[in-house]
Subunit: 314 residues, 6 copies
């Protein structure tokens, strides 16, 4: 708007320091022919949640948090301002038909992969129900898939008692043979948050489960390192699925299913950064943040930092 001396677009930041680059400045909306390192897709879907959830608002809230974060790591002495992020926008969710919505997510992710416009992918949920169509799409495009799931819960509920809710994504993936039990690793599973039957199911299917006692004893970073190495030999592609309720309620007060005794922010950030180092790790979803219940978007801020630890690697 060159004829106006001082006007800025309505949603622009009011203040710009010429020597600071915010992550939002590295984001471009998708257009034909664009290419970037990271693809960003919003999955504003939370109607499959068993309890009420406005997790569907998280993709935009997390994006907003990126406007307060810079591209520079002083610890690594590296600036990532040249790493372009392509924002594909959000998948249009059907108001009431959840199967239709899951199908749209699946189709959209396949179309995005087909566009070959980026190398790594970040999916912002939404509730954990989005991981079923998302992981399925990646599996069908890239071959055998390994999944690291940060979560307080197994998420392998039966489908009879309520259909494909946010408690079922990994059941759906296993039953549909999109993921092999040996290739699923669950980290941060919490006591008194799951049932004996579903714990038995994970054993039966060969899922690797690390509960909070394991995390405390072995350390989350070495444990993740070891599992990424193992998986990398067995699969073509590694997908990280971060259910934010793996984090203790003091550090992530905006999850629908908050509780005490989870991992700290640092344990989450450090372990995602560790996993992200491996070149087969190419996709990340972050789910189960309900901004309407958060305090000062603390949980979305943490999620934005999880994105950075995945995107920006040494």
């Amino acid at each position: 708007m060159d004829k106006f001396s001082y006007l800025l677009p309505a949603n622009a930041a009011g203040f710009k320091d010429r020597y600071v680059t915010k992550v939002t400045e590295c984001i471009s909306h998708y257009s034909t022919g664009i290419r970037g390192e990271i693809g960003l897709i919003g999955l504003p879907f939370s109607k499959s949640s068993i309890s009420h959830s406005q997790a569907g608002e998280a993709p935009n809230t997390i994006r907003d948090c990126l406007s307060n974060i810079t591209t520079y790591s002083g610890e690594w002495k590296m600036d990532f301002k040249d790493k372009m992020i392509v924002d594909f926008g959000n998948v249009a969710i059907h108001p009431i038909n959840t199967e239709e919505s899951l199908s749209r997510i699946y189709t959209s992710i396949k179309e995005i992969i087909d566009s070959k416009s980026c190398e790594r992918y970040i999916m912002l949920g939404g509730d954990h129900g989005v991981s079923f169509p998302s992981i399925r799409a990646f599996q069908e495009k890239f071959g055998t898939i390994g999944v690291l799931q940060w979560d307080a819960h197994h998420d392998v509920r039966n489908l009879k008692d309520g259909g494909r809710t946010n408690g079922t994504p990994f059941r759906s993936l296993l039953e549909g043979r999109f993921v092999n039990g040996e290739h699923l690793v669950q980290i941060g599973i919490r006591d008194f948050s799951n049932s004996q039957e579903y714990h038995g199911y994970t054993k039966e299917k060969g899922i690797t489960v690390y509960n909070m006692a394991d995390v405390e004893q072995e350390g989350i970073v070495p444990l993740v390192k070891q599992e990424v190495e193992r998986l990398s030999k067995e699969v073509d592609f590694i997908y990280l699925s971060v259910d934010m309720d793996v984090v203790d309620q003091a550090f992530a007060p905006g999850c629908p299913a908050i509780g005490p005794g989870g991992v700290t922010s640092r344990e989450l950030l450090g372990s995602v950064a560790e996993a992200a180092k491996h070149k087969k790790v190419k996709a990340l979803d972050i789910v189960e943040i309900d901004p309407s219940r958060d305090f000062r978007d603390m949980t979305s801020r943490l999620a934005a930092h999880v994105m950075l630890r995945f995107m920006y690697i040494k």
Copy 2:
């Protein structure tokens, strides 16, 4: 618990004045053979809402508000403590299948009517989507039905753009011929909250529409009186459907779609009380309260008083 001197059940009120009767003391849970004047049914369904809504929490919140309200009217010098209310509980909602949920509401209301255990019915929503199966059930049991709808919106959206959402119940009732356009009266319709096309649809179908200018000029009580009298000659049964967003946001801050310029609390209470006087008025639903967004349950408190104006009549 006669062996204990001071123990009360966990959810009992801590203090009881022997000379005061609270409405909750007049409520009995349904059991075979029970009979009361009023039947109370919770419809905790809000997954059909276009925007996120926790209106599904309202039935229990409104019930809780009844514990602060007494049975005595000083204005009429009448005590209603002998009017028994039968609480049928809440319809179990399916976590993700909205058609299934609507069907369960429909079936449950028919079963309740069949139980012949009460004379008048109060349905606590939920979002406005519950009125379709509810009114349909009453129509099929009682014959030609007239509906007075307090609402800022017409709620006759097309079904193609999102299915049976909370914006469509009266469309569904009219298209299914459960209600005749001439027997539907909309009160409190607000400017800049509807569209030309849907306004045209109400004209085409013969719906009687009173917007806020009409309410201000004619007065809501005389207007309701006149329409109840007209309907009573044409129908077998009159159903009141109160979408709380007909009320101005200052008086009902907990509706999902709040806005300025609506009716006041007194206009709502006075007009419901006027309608309730007629013996053909036998059912009431109250919808579109999201307790998670309310301030001190003000909107649910108002809804509880709406219940009283319907239940307790001279």
Copy 3:
């Protein structure tokens, strides 16, 4: 994004009903050559506030509220969906230099007028300090200016005790001879919210003052009608300045200086609509909303409806 079946831009509404037009759909960002009926400018400036205020966030919050409001008036049976609104964005505010910020507002409004791209103008504050540069700019472009000010306060504080704060805009306009006292009308002035000295100043300058007792006795609509008619004979251009704290705290809980005993939402909407009818009324500012202290954006929603009553006229 034609190669993707379901993707929407990140900030797009998730649901679209083909038969409903929202006001936001009628807004275009300014580009050279564009022409529309209404020009919209954000003035996110609140550093001149005597007490802490985040009124600078209101322009974007009010814009967001327009996405919930349709273009159709059922009372007038008119659809305004063809009335284009040109959004010029927000004036860039200097982080600490308030004189510089006031100067940028002044310059920007003159540049916008010079662009000749619209017929009427809406300025969204910010605190009331923005009205000084805004009204001055209009005066210099259009000639003698009349101002209708809805306000609980005179806003004619002396400049010695704190400079050009949000308590001084009309003092600055009068002292600078940009507005003549006879052409300034203050409506809704409240008891125990002003001082004897400033009341004396309004008398001395010939300002017409209607306090709340006047509003209650004469009615706000007839009073506005009479003053618009009077002014229209004496001035070239009429500017409406709406300080939202003219409204009672129950209806506008988000103003920095809330209090009881003000006008109702209906009195505000009705009186702005009355003023807007006159063809010399061509500019409106809305100021003193602090979204960080509001409840569910109630005050910004009311402001959005004030915009509509100004924009959409019979």
Copy 4:
């Protein structure tokens, strides 16, 4: 602090306009020999509340609100800045012994009257339990006492079911013969908020009761005028007791027992101002505000304006 150029006491207002007087500037803490027109006493007592209440915090919150209110009435063209208010501080409440606390209130008010340092008295509660010792003290000092009680509730509960709670002050006053039933007027009593038995008790004792239907039909101001005139012929002293829950929840959201259908802010302010005109009206209490549940101190702000309507008379 003359050696420092810019230092202000820690709790001083940061900004002072030399031409504006705030009510707080007219308040002096009590010291021997001081004389003022109004005496102000805080009664931070809410342990007698049946339900949990932090009404004990209201005296200080209401005082804080006075710092935003000026001494000038534009409607009357009168400045009250020379009317001195003597602040006696707050009565020290016993942490657990409510009888001791009531006794301290009673003693303190008698001591304050004995100090002969002011002409009219304002007591800031606390819950309604404070009115028993307060009115009793005035009765014993000034003779036959008439009471105008603005209240949604009769507050004449039996003493057996819980002792002297906040539901009993007028029972205690009547039973103790400190007030004669004919000299008690209750205004704004609300339906479904009282019981038949207590309504009967008011009849039996000769209390004059105006419920909300009376207020709506007769108008609150004429009704108060008529009762003050009647009482003034029968009593030596008139005491106003304002339970803020007489106000509708939209205008007074911070009362412990909020509900819809009460008086508006204007009805309250206008009727207190009407009563205050009479020279026998010499004491006012304001009770039942719980600042911890209010929104932006709206209810305390309204209370501060009630104080002004009592203090500042033509």
Copy 5:
């Protein structure tokens, strides 16, 4: 309700997974002849709090939190769904008479012990004032009693300055010789939260005090282990009293007296679990949670997990 296909009781959970058992499903209300492992008693008493407190609401809030917690420990591979909990309800508290309330608590706990219907006891406060009558009752029934108190404060205030407030329970127990100083262990005492005199009193009485520096240096689990072992040799019965303000404000934001520098959630859960292992540990109280000031019931959720660590032992 077999004649209805889909109706659930009003407060039932909306969704049931057949393979998951929630703790609430293991709770039965007391009835004659019932026997269970754990007895649960609510002590909704907070009128003895020095500062305002709604800790009286905590028993029901903590119970509600149990509906989100399952009976299965994956770390121990044990399901506790067969461990029955008998809920005795809440002690009826007198509205104003605190001595009467303390007496009712004392009597109720003795009556519950006499019912011989359970083996271990959980008391949910309330403020810390409840521990005096509770511990006294257990002492009189079971003999010499040892107490482990998790607390930031000594709670041995003098009784002259305010009677038996929530700052005095252990003073009352020591002075009444219900507990011997050598048998009281205080863990987590915080700097700048107590006074020299009361610290001296603990020394004089032989109380064992571990402050936060001790906790940091020795580790809370070994320290608790050692003290339980010591006490077990000297007493007949060990009682755990958990004042939640021992926890850092980040992890327990809902205590009336929050502050920084306390124990973490894990330190609390781990140390209670350690103590619970010993067979002489048979009673637990959890006090000082004010749900009205908490964020998303985080503190009550933590308290519910404390219950589990006490109830469910290897």
Copy 6:
């Protein structure tokens, strides 16, 4: 007020235990001739903040928190009740002129130093902009100055893009040669919160920077100890500047620029206590708390404890 038996000043605490001394009881307002150990000055300035901030309210909020904190350390077995604190009040801030406000802060601190009434100084901000005039004043009075800065950010922004904002204090100090780069130590600098250019600037100027990785590896206490020792040999006076956003958002939720991955409360308290031991450490500022966005004043409570660790030394 000896003629009244129970009256307390309006803002006095309601309850006093004769054996407990609160920190507020050790504070005296400045008067000529007074002498104390600690001087306390409020700098309620936040208009230089780049984003909206009400940090100007923090000085009074932090003071209020001192009323809940006692003077006794059980860990050191020392009572500090005889250490007098002189409260100089708050610097009067100009409503709009930030240069004037900075100048008033500078002048006030010099005047306070000149009063020679205390030995150590605590400045309560305000935003970080206050540290420029504050440190400058101390440098000019005491000679070469060393600064330990706890902060997530370098705060060395350029002055061209917005003037002396809260992002620039250390730039201003370095450019003005009030502090030498070698004498500035930054602790807790966080990744993705700064830019490459400003990191480069710190290197160029010789600033010692410890980022969060350093804190985690070396431990914050040893690191602070080492730097205080180094500085003490090179400077005359050591000033501690604590920007509370160095703390993780879970422990300090009320900072304007919150984020995950910062230091814990204990790390902050322990490291300030370590620094405070050295006799050259004589001044402390605490900045960047916005009480309007905090939860239960948690961040101000933590700040009050930081004050104690600085004031009360072994």
